[in-house]
C-alpha cells in the first residue's frame, strides 16, 4: 500500500473521479468535514470496499457522492434507517452516515433517537450549520435563539436542540462535537468514532455563509469562520470554569457552545447482542433435537 502524504494523494485515493470541485458555496464548511473523514480513514487504513456511506437530502447529504466507495443517497431524514439496513444485511460492512441538522435532528429525529438507543453499529457525522441550507435557509431545530431564517424573519424563539446531549442521554457509545475551523482534534475524534463498536455521533459545527451567515450578519468568510473560534469552548475548560471560575469568567463562557468528546463508553452494540442471541438459540435448538433422538 502506498503511503498517502499529501492532499493530492488523498484525492487520488478517496475522491470519485470527475465529481470535484464540489457544488458547495465558497466558504462552506461541508467540504472540510469530508476531508477530515478522508484523513481519518487513511490513518485507519480501512478497506473502502468494505465501507459504505449513507446520507439523506441536503447540501451535507451530497458528501457520499464525492467518495470513491459505495453509498446510498436516500430520502430526506432516512439515512440512518438505510444505514441500519446495510448493517443488518452484512454486519461486516463499516457504515458511515453523513447528514445535516435538518436531515438528522429535524425530519429524521426519530430514526436518530432509536438508532442511538439500540446502539446500532454505525458512525453518524452530522453537519450542523444551524439552517436548511439546500432549500434556501429555513429555520433548523439546532439554530441558536435569535437566529434569522426565511421562516424566522424576526428571530428564532424556539429553543435549539442539543443533539449531543440527546445522544449522551440515549447511551450512545461515542459522542463528540467539533467546529470545522481547526483540523487536528476532529480528525483524531473521527478516528475514535469510526473505531468504536456501537453508535457514534460526531457533530460538526460548520459555516453556511450563503443561507445562515449572510442573514445573520456574521460578516465575510473570515469573520464567519472566526465566529466558531470565539463562540465555542472545550468541555474540560467549561467544566473547570463553572467549578472554580470567578463570576465574570462564568458569565463569559456560559453561552458558548461546548465542544469536545462528551461520551466515550463501551456498551455492547446491537449486532454484538444479536449474535449472542443467535448463538444461544442455536444451542437451545440443538439440545431440543438431541432430546428427540
Amino acid at each position: 500500500m502506498v503511503e498517502v502524504k499529501t492532499a493530492e494523494e488523498l484525492n487520488k485515493k478517496f475522491l470519485r473521479e470527475g465529481m470535484w470541485p464540489t457544488i458547495f458555496c465558497n466558504g462552506c464548511g461541508h467540504g472540510v468535514v469530508l476531508e477530515y473523514t478522508f484523513w481519518a480513514l487513511e490513518e485507519l487504513g480501512w478497506d473502502m470496499d468494505k465501507t459504505m456511506f449513507a446520507s439523506g437530502i441536503g447540501c451535507s447529504s451530497r458528501l457520499p457522492g464525492y467518495i470513491n466507495a459505495d453509498g446510498l443517497h436516500t430520502t430526506h431524514g432516512r439515512a440512518i434507517a438505510f444505514a441500519t439496513g446495510i448493517k443488518a444485511a452484512d454486519p461486516d460492512f463499516n457504515v458511515i452516515v453523513f447528514t445535516g441538522d435538518g436531515d438528522c435532528a429535524g425530519i429524521g429525529g426519530n430514526h436518530f433517537i432509536h438508532a442511538a438507543r439500540r446502539n446500532i453499529d454505525m458512525t453518524v457525522i452530522m453537519i450542523n450549520n444551524f439552517i436548511y441550507g439546500m432549500t434556501g435557509g429555513q429555520l433548523a431545530p439546532t439554530a441558536p435563539l435569535g437566529s434569522i431564517a426565511t421562516t424566522a424573519p424576526y428571530g428564532n424563539i424556539e429553543h435549539p436542540f442539543d443533539i449531543c446531549e440527546l445522544a449522551k442521554a440515549l447511551g450512545a457509545n461515542y459522542v463528540a462535537r467539533w467546529p470545522v475551523s481547526h483540523p487536528y482534534q476532529p480528525i483524531k475524534s473521527i478516528k475514535e468514532g469510526l473505531q468504536k463498536k456501537g453508535f457514534s455521533l460526531l457533530e460538526f459545527l460548520a459555516p453556511c455563509p450563503t443561507a445562515y451567515g449572510r442573514r445573520n450578519k456574521l460578516g465575510d468568510i473570515k469573520k464567519h469562520w472566526a465566529w466558531y473560534d470565539d463562540n465555542t469552548i472545550l468541555i474540560e475548560d467549561y467544566d473547570k470554569i463553572m467549578k472554580y471560575g470567578s463570576v465574570k469568567e462564568k458569565e463569559e463562557v456560559k453561552d458558548k457552545m461546548q465542544i469536545g468528546v462528551f461520551q466515550d463508553i463501551q456498551k455492547p452494540g446491537f449486532f454484538e447482542l444479536y449474535d449472542q442471541l443467535m448463538e444461544r438459540l442455536k444451542v437451545e435448538e440443538n439440545k431440543k433435537r438431541e432430546g428427540k433422538k
Binding site: 492532499a7 470535484w20 466558504g27 483540523p183 475548560d237
Partner: protein, 86 residues
C-alpha cells in the same frame, strides 16, 4: 513548496487567513472562475505545518516540504481551540 489546483480553488482565502505564519498571499493569476488562487509569498516563510492543506474546503492545496532548503522557522501565531481569550 505549495501546490494549488488552481481550478478547484473557490477563493475563500481561509488558507491565507489561517496560515499560522502568514506565508500565503493571493496570486496575480486568475483561474477559470475569475478567482486568484493562493501562492507562497516571495520570501518563503512556510514551515510546512500543512494547516492550509488540511483546512482547504476544496482539497486544492498540497504541501510538499523542500527538504534541502534550510531556513529560520517563524514563530506560530496559532492559538488553541476554545478557552478564554487573553
Amino acid at each position: 513548496m505549495i501546490e494549488v489546483k488552481d481550478d478547484w480553488c473557490k477563493g475563500c482565502n481561509i488558507c491565507i487567513d489561517r496560515c499560522p505564519v502568514d506565508a500565503l498571499e493571493e496570486s496575480d493569476k486568475l483561474n477559470k472562475r475569475g478567482i486568484r488562487p493562493p501562492q507562497l509569498k516571495k520570501e518563503n516563510e512556510c514551515n510546512y505545518c500543512r494547516y492550509c492543506e488540511l483546512i482547504c474546503p476544496d482539497l486544492a492545496i498540497s504541501v510538499i516540504p523542500d527538504e534541502d532548503i534550510k531556513k529560520v522557522e517563524k514563530k506560530t501565531l496559532l492559538s488553541p481551540v476554545g478557552g478564554i481569550k487573553k
